[in-house]
């Protein structure tokens, strides 16, 4: 079905490998080239990240200094607060992490790394981005409709999300679920493209174990997404009907059940964590091997742990619902499966640390990000054990401990992983080198405030502070002076961190305009994308597509003179 999508612009579509001059709109607005679509995803994602960051700034200011007139937003009312929190969560996961990590890096890297000239379905690819853009516009537009944006948290538990008389955001709720559903459709289309491209279009000679890790990870992530999102798409339709038609799928008084939504949501929601984690892990694998001049320690081990984690992630979803009124006996099952996940993930982390052993490490900006990913994600991972243990989760559920935990996982994934990948492949994408000193300054000014934001929140969570409350002054136990100090520390750190991103944007624009030329392979890396020109032209290798002779991480091989052995170099 996918390849039969009606052709738009049927008369003027781009000729692959031909000499047809493309107009501006064909090249930049409705491109078929995978690299341009990747850039569209990348910059839409970054734009949404700025918005999500701004939202975080607005509600953190309210928490640190209750009732102040937040510069740039105004007074944060309770309705504002809920809308900001909800949109921050939804945007950062669905409109930042997924488009940047899966769609942008997937689109950019998969064809280049497997030695193909484009994705297998370029038109589906373009359609995928257009649907994604539409969904992003809808979620942003929901701030300007009557009642404002949806404020029922990114989990959208009914009946709050289905009944306008409870949420007071009738249109906003529907726009939220519509935007999310459209985003899923976009990524289903994109996912089919990634999977089939990586499965079928590999360069001659590239066997399964010669595929770079990041490609594998994006494919596994797409598969996880595809197999988990179905129930939630069905649930999304049910929710829209509940909102707009007055059905009662989630209304207990008329024969429905609100818990059903929670199952539909988390059956997707937990694999979703790994959907965004795996691409970041793949990026880190590529960056770490290049900058430590080492072969990845146990290529197949990493792969099997990723697949194992992916499969296990389908069996753990109800640990988000321990105290949500599920059958308490089920919690025991989900505790066991949840803690089992620690085995493959720990193995994966060990393997990454072992990759450093015996290396020759240079601390360029991408490497700093990759190393930071390992360390910060380690913290995120171990704090998950607290929450997976059912007995402890009774207390921890929905406190700031949970919040700090998943920011310690999602932040390394979505922000640190993205910066690692972006700074690593920037020379390929734009043909210019980034300024390393500015990059390092940006790194430290991001990493240190990040820890200062979320470490205090662990403490606040342990002290019993619950999430999504716009002002703790109503709770005597939670408005102690030391607590307010920690909140202010977190907020000020956040402001510093957001400000530091200006360095990044300055660096990108400056390097793009006037950075030194990068050449084909500035990092002396061995994977196929570095054999194409920087930036690669339309069709990637106009002189002929490469052939693959060996695995992706042959660094410092004793039989080879150079310390890297490109995949396309005949033996």
């Amino acid at each position: 079905m996918a390849e039969s999508i009606p052709v738009e612009h049927a008369d003027g579509h781009a000729d692959h490998g031909g000499h047809h001059e493309m107009s501006f709109s064909e090249k930049y607005i409705f491109p078929l080239d995978h690299k341009m679509i990747a850039m569209q995803y990348m910059f839409t994602g970054m734009f949404m990240a700025v918005i999500g960051g701004f939202f975080a700034y607005a509600f953190r200011m309210q928490l640190a200094f209750p009732g102040i007139n937040v510069p740039g937003w105004g007074v944060v009312t309770p309705a504002d607060y809920n809308a900001l929190v909800t949109s921050h969560g939804s945007i950062m996961i669905f409109w930042v992490a997924m488009p940047v990590l899966i769609a942008a890096f997937g689109n950019y890297l998969i064809p280049l790394m497997i030695g193909a000239d484009d994705m297998v379905f370029p038109r589906v690819n373009r359609l995928s981005y257009q649907i994604f853009l539409l969904s992003a516009i809808i979620i942003l537009a929901s701030f300007f409709v009557e009642g404002g944006a949806f404020g029922g948290a990114w989990t959208a538990y009914p009946p709050l999300s289905t009944k306008a008389e409870y949420s007071l955001t009738g249109i906003g709720s529907t726009m939220w679920i519509l935007a999310v559903a459209l985003e899923f459709v976009a990524f289903l289309l994109g996912g089919i493209n990634f999977i089939t491209t990586a499965m079928n279009s590999r360069a001659p000679g590239m066997k399964m174990w010669d595929i770079p890790m990041v490609v594998w990870m994006i494919v596994i992530a797409s598969i996880l997404f595809m197999l988990s999102v179905g129930p939630l798409l069905a649930g999304g339709i049910m929710m829209m009907f509940d909102q707009q038609l007055g059905t009662a799928f989630f209304d207990p008084d008329r024969g429905g059940d609100p818990i059903l939504w929670q199952h539909l949501f988390w059956f997707f929601g937990h694999p979703e964590v790994y959907v965004v984690l795996l691409p970041a892990v793949g990026i880190v694998a590529d960056v770490m091997t290049v900058f430590s001049r080492k072969k990845l320690f146990g290529y197949k081990t990493v792969l099997y742990t990723a697949i194992g984690t992916g499969v296990l992630s389908f069996t753990v979803w109800a640990h988000h619902q321990f105290v949500a009124g599920i059958d308490p006996r089920m919690a025991n099952v989900f505790t066991v499966t949840t803690l089992l996940i620690s085995v493959p993930i720990a193995e994966m982390m060990f393997v990454y640390i072992a990759t450093l052993y015996g290396g020759s490490i240079t601390f360029k900006t991408p490497m700093l990000w990759a190393l930071a990913f390992i360390f910060e994600f380690l913290i995120g991972g171990i704090t998950g054990i607290f929450l997976g243990a059912s007995g402890n989760d009774i207390y921890m559920h929905d406190t700031y401990f949970v919040l700090a935990h998943f920011h310690y996982t999602f932040y390394p994934i979505a922000i640190i992983g993205t910066f690692a990948g972006f700074t690593h492949w920037f020379p390929k994408m734009f043909g210019k080198m980034m300024n390393d000193n500015l990059g390092k300054l940006h790194f430290w000014l991001t990493i240190i405030p990040f820890n200062l934001i979320f470490l205090p929140l662990f403490v606040l969570g342990a002290a019993g502070q619950h999430r999504r409350i716009y002002d703790y002054q109503n709770f005597p136990e939670l408005s102690l002076p030391w607590m307010q100090d920690l909140r202010q520390l977190a907020t000020i750190s956040l402001c510093v961190m957001l400000g530091a991103q200006l360095i990044f944007f300055y660096n990108v624009i400056k390097s793009w305009m006037s950075g030194p030329a990068a050449g084909k392979n500035p990092w002396r890396a061995s994977t196929l994308e570095w054999t194409a020109a920087s930036p690669p032209p339309h069709g990637n290798w106009p002189e002929g597509l490469p052939t693959c002779y060996r695995g992706p991480y042959e660094y410092s091989h004793p039989d080879h003179e150079e310390d890297y052995w490109p995949q396309n170099e005949p033996a």
Partner: protein, 191 residues
């Protein structure tokens, strides 16, 4: 589709790319219907009284529609068989007949729903009817999408171009048929 990327013509996984893709589409559709029908079955078992509501569905109409879809599936596979022989004209004719089958299916469905709605069995009457209209409605959307794509495929097949697409849309159509094979007992027979 004259200028397809070289990538599309490779098949390292041992299957032509379009056929591989349609199986992935089907996998993602299975979980969509699986989630919906799973939710329906849970409620159906929990609510004894739903059997009474289900008694209002018309088994004969359901059976007729099953017959129509099965027959259209036969046409689809015959179209594929003709396309394999390189006979694009026959393939196109069979595809039009398949599309016709879809049209008959939708017409019958329209009459059925009209009658049910006019008797007060609307989507909001109770949760059984909500599931009934949602499940059958999503399925009908797939039928419509399949028909539209099939008309495009038939257009090119008539000119003996891109005959491999006949098989692809056929596989998708059979999947839609299989979904109905399960909807039929779930909504019509189990009472």
């Amino acid at each position: 589709m004259s200028a397809r990327p070289i990538a599309t013509t490779r098949s390292a996984a041992g299957m032509p790319t379009p056929r591989l893709a349609v199986w992935w589409v089907i996998a993602s559709e299975i979980v969509i219907f699986g989630g919906l029908l799973g939710s329906y079955i849970m409620h159906r078992i929990a609510h004894g009284e739903w059997a009474e509501y289900a008694a209002n569905t018309n088994t004969m109409i359901g059976a007729t529609n099953t017959f129509v879809l099965l027959t259209s599936s036969l046409f689809a596979v015959l179209a594929h068989q003709a396309a394999e022989r390189g006979d694009g004209k026959t393939a196109a004719r069979f595809l039009y007949m398949t599309t016709g089958g879809g049209l008959v299916f939708l017409t019958i469905k329209a009459f059925e729903w009209t009658s049910e709605i006019s008797h007060g069995m609307t989507i909001t009457a109770n949760t059984f009817w909500s599931f009934y209209y949602t499940a059958a409605g999503i399925h009908a959307l797939h039928v419509i999408a399949g028909m539209i794509i099939m008309l495009f495929v038939a257009q090119t097949a008539k000119r003996n171009e891109d005959l491999h697409r006949v098989e692809i849309i056929g596989i998708y159509w059979h999947f839609v048929d299989i979904v109905w094979i399960f909807l039929f007992p779930l909504l019509y027979i189990a009472k």
